[in-house]
Amino acid sequence: MTLSDLLQRMNIKLGEQSTFYPEEEKVASGINPAQRLLCLAMPLLLQKRALLTIQPDQIFTDLRTITPTIRTINRVVLGDVTTSHSDPVAWTGELTRLLPTTLQRLGGMADWMEQTGPTRKYWLHGPYWFGLFKRPMITLYVTIIYEAMPPVLSVHELSAVPDIPQAYHPLIADIATGLLLQKEGDIEGKRGLALIMGALEGLKL
């Protein structure tokens, strides 16, 4: 379903009120937040992989510079597992999963930042700062598998298609309609909330 199709569905649900609901508002305040809420409610809808190149002197990485759509890291694997065929390299431990650790735990070792050797763990500071422990002695590739945010749709690209499976596209229109109805006051606002809750019903199952 394209953005144009989604807008058409919303038009019908909103009673063809194009003056009260301009298209820019439908996209910015309706469709974009709606697809984000769907991905929050059901993270499996949009999982992505990013390949990082980590150099020996690279102590940490700002994940926002790698991919602006990252939300939560699910897994981190040493090596490149972004393709269907990956070659394990035994001596660097490639294709093994890295375990998460915290700064608090690492802080138990006074020299954790200096330690170099086989990389087995990763740490995060806040949602964006990412580092490896131990620091690699050679340039390494690391694959981050993460829950992603859907790319923002723009009213200037009506042929764009949301990045989540097609079966869920009608729910975007329902949630977006519910969000737009909020400005209409008490009764319509509550109707909008009911539309949103109805769309989300059963998604976590």
């Binding site: 984000r36 809420l37 690279q58 802080g107 020299d111 500071h125 949602p127 606002g189 809750m197």
Partner: protein
């Protein structure tokens, strides 16, 4: 990248107001409050390099620090300690006079946003940038690296400011701002809208937490 102008448009749409200088100023103030609320829950991590100076124990951090959580000197972890602990630890009663290899850090009894390194460093670290020290370009030998959480609300100062959160949180900031604005004692007070936005915020938070 979302600017505050886009957020202000969404807020104005929900409140059914035409954005003017006055209303946008109100939106901005409310939005900063909501960003600060998010920051206080330690959302915005930051890692900052500081040049260590020979004999200097006090280092001034930016005003927007929420919490210092980890301090390294010369890539070695410094332990947090209170002044009372140092006072009662026997053989270091004159600890403020000492210089040496830094072992501890404290915020205890210090001026706001000042961190004290104990003992004060004996050497001044290099401030010469180098492309090999990624991603900071600054030498960590004999210098400080401080892991903090910061409040970015004051960086959002006008309509062109970039909102420094993930997009999910931008949605939540809109609902939180509208909820607070719709409750204000203006003729346009809109309690049903505030209640609905509170419900939306709760819904978003239930999935984001």
């Amino acid at each position: 990248v979302t600017t505050f102008a886009e957020q202000a448009t969404r807020i104005a749409n929900l409140l059914q107001e035409t954005p003017s200088n006055d209303t946008v100023a109100r939106y901005l103030m409310q939005h900063q409050d909501e960003l600060s609320r998010l920051a206080r829950s330690k959302y915005f991590g930051q890692i900052t390099w500081y040049q260590a100076i020979q004999g200097q124990a006090l280092y001034v951090l930016p005003d927007n620090i929420i919490e210092v959580c980890h301090v390294l000197y010369n890539q070695k972890v410094l332990r947090y300690v209170t002044e009372q602990t140092l006072d009662y630890s026997g053989n270091v009663r004159s600890w403020e006079a000492n210089t040496g290899e830094p072992t501890y850090w404290t915020l205890d009894n210090q001026v706001l946003n000042e961190v004290r390194i104990i003992p004060a460093p004996m050497r001044t670290g290099s401030a010469v940038p180098s492309p090999t020290f990624l991603p900071m370009y600054q030498d960590m030998k004999d210098n400080l690296l401080v892991f903090t959480y910061e409040d970015v609300a004051l960086e959002v100062t006008n309509v062109d400011s970039v909102i420094p959160t993930l997009l999910d949180w931008e949605d939540m900031l809109v609902f939180a701002s509208v909820q607070a604005l719709a409750l204000q004692e203006y003729p346009e007070q809109n309690i049903p809208l505030a209640q609905n936005c509170a419900a939306l915020l709760k819904l978003w938070m239930s999935y984001a937490a």
